[in-house]
């Protein structure tokens, strides 16, 4: 398959999750009352205040787009990561029963999804860097430090790496964490897959699968949330850096 292939599983799952997220929040937004909130509204308000306060904490300039961006990133990534907690073979089994031989449930284990978001963030960083500092200012930031104007090529190399590293690290961090987590789930699931009748080894493997997947799933709840939070926070920080003059 060439470049123009489309990973339908990633596409459909992320679209579905994003739409669910948007649907829930949109419903709350339309039925929003300033008085006593119901529990769903309460949850959404909590989420928004959480994102808003962490954006306020790390974003010092004024930009109305950053907070909604952070909210979208946090919940979208969170929900994509959360798919990891669905028992590993349920959805693929269901899909293969429906005639689809391969289906990846967790969109964030597809680098296309993570790079898609990271590049989106990167484009915003470039846009706001140029908008806030002017093209010359941005270029100056890239070439005139840390060694002054006589070290221009070296500066450009260093700052360029610095700049490019942002989206790449953003995308690869999420992808790596989720991919590795998924891999470990698969390995754990294989233990029970080796079931071959009531033998000591078989029963031990089966029991260990239950215990290990429980433990790893509990631990993974933390990773799922943490990765979503890190993606959000780093996005906000990068955009903040794009808005600020460096000296």
């Amino acid at each position: 398959m060439g470049f123009w292939a489309l990973n339908l599983d990633t596409f459909i799952m992320s679209l579905l999750l994003g739409v669910i997220f948007m649907f829930v929040f949109r419903r709350v937004a339309t039925t929003m009352v300033a008085g006593t909130p119901n529990s769903l509204q309460n949850f959404c308000e909590w989420a928004i205040e959480f994102v808003d306060s962490s954006v306020r904490g790390s974003f010092t300039s004024k930009n109305n787009m950053v907070a909604p961006l952070a909210l979208t990133i946090f919940f979208w990534v969170f929900m994509m990561n959360l798919m990891d907690l669905i028992p590993i073979d349920w959805v693929p089994l269901l899909m293969s029963a429906l005639g689809v031989p391969f289906f990846k449930v967790v969109p964030s284990t597809d680098p296309n999804a993570t790079f898609g978001m990271a590049i989106g963030v990167f484009l915003l960083v470039l846009y706001y860097s140029v908008k806030m500092k002017g093209f010359g200012g941005f270029m100056g930031e890239l070439t005139l430090q840390p060694f002054g104007k006589w070290g221009m090529p070296v500066n450009f190399l260093l700052e360029g790496v610095n700049l490019i590293a942002k989206p790449i690290s953003l995308a690869l961090r999420l992808f790596g964490n989720m991919y590795a987590g998924e891999m470990i789930f698969i390995l754990i699931a294989l233990m029970g897959g080796a079931w071959a009748g009531f033998s000591l080894g078989g029963v031990t493997l089966f029991g260990s699968q239950i215990l290990l997947s429980l433990g790893w799933a509990i631990f993974h709840i933390l990773i799922v949330t943490l990765q979503a939070f890190i993606f959000m926070t780093l996005t906000v920080v990068y955009l903040d850096m794009a808005h600020q003059e460096h000296h």
């Binding site: 398959m1 990633t10 992320s14 008085g35 961006l69 296309n112």
Partner: protein, 156 residues
């Protein structure tokens, strides 16, 4: 890892979601939150104002109460004074009346005494005349000796 057109699709999807979130989710919810914040702040300010009003009102009522007490005390004092005045007045009146009555009675007594003396005198003179008549053995003509008798009466 195979990068393909999914990346572009994800990028576009991401942009659309962010746009939607900014336009239709974030703005109304934050607006409602701000409105609630304002409502709460207003409520607190109102409560504060009501508290101040209450304090003011209670201070005013205490003052009014104090004034009323003062006035009542004044009224009571006045009336007591008036009462003692009346008592005093009636006392003096009674004294005057009593003295008048006493004087009247004294005058009456004097008159009575005078009348009794007069009567006594007349009777004594009559007795004396009768006595004298008996002694002389004949009747004294009262008419003839009237001036003598009168002189006698005056002497008694």
């Amino acid at each position: 890892m195979n990068i393909n057109a999914t990346l572009l699709a994800q990028l576009i999807m991401f942009a659309l979601f962010v746009w939607f979130c900014m336009k239709f989710v974030w703005t109304p919810i934050v607006a409602a939150l701000d409105e609630r914040k304002k409502q709460i702040a207003d409520g607190l300010a109102d409560a504060e104002r009501a508290k101040q009003d209450l304090e003011l009102a209670s201070r005013r009522s205490a003052e009014i109460l104090r004034e009323a007490k003062e006035k009542a005390g004044e009224i009571i004092g006045n009336s007591e004074k008036r009462a003692s005045e009346i008592v005093e007045e009636s006392k003096t009146q009674a004294k005057v009346e009593g003295e008048r009555i006493i004087a009247g009675a004294k005058a009456e007594i004097d008159q009575e005494v005078f009348r009794a003396k007069e009567q006594l005198r007349t009777q004594v003179s009559a007795i004396a005349l009768a006595g004298a008549g008996k002694i002389l053995g004949r009747e004294i003509d009262a008419k003839a000796h009237n001036d003598l008798l009168d002189k006698l009466v005056a002497e008694i």
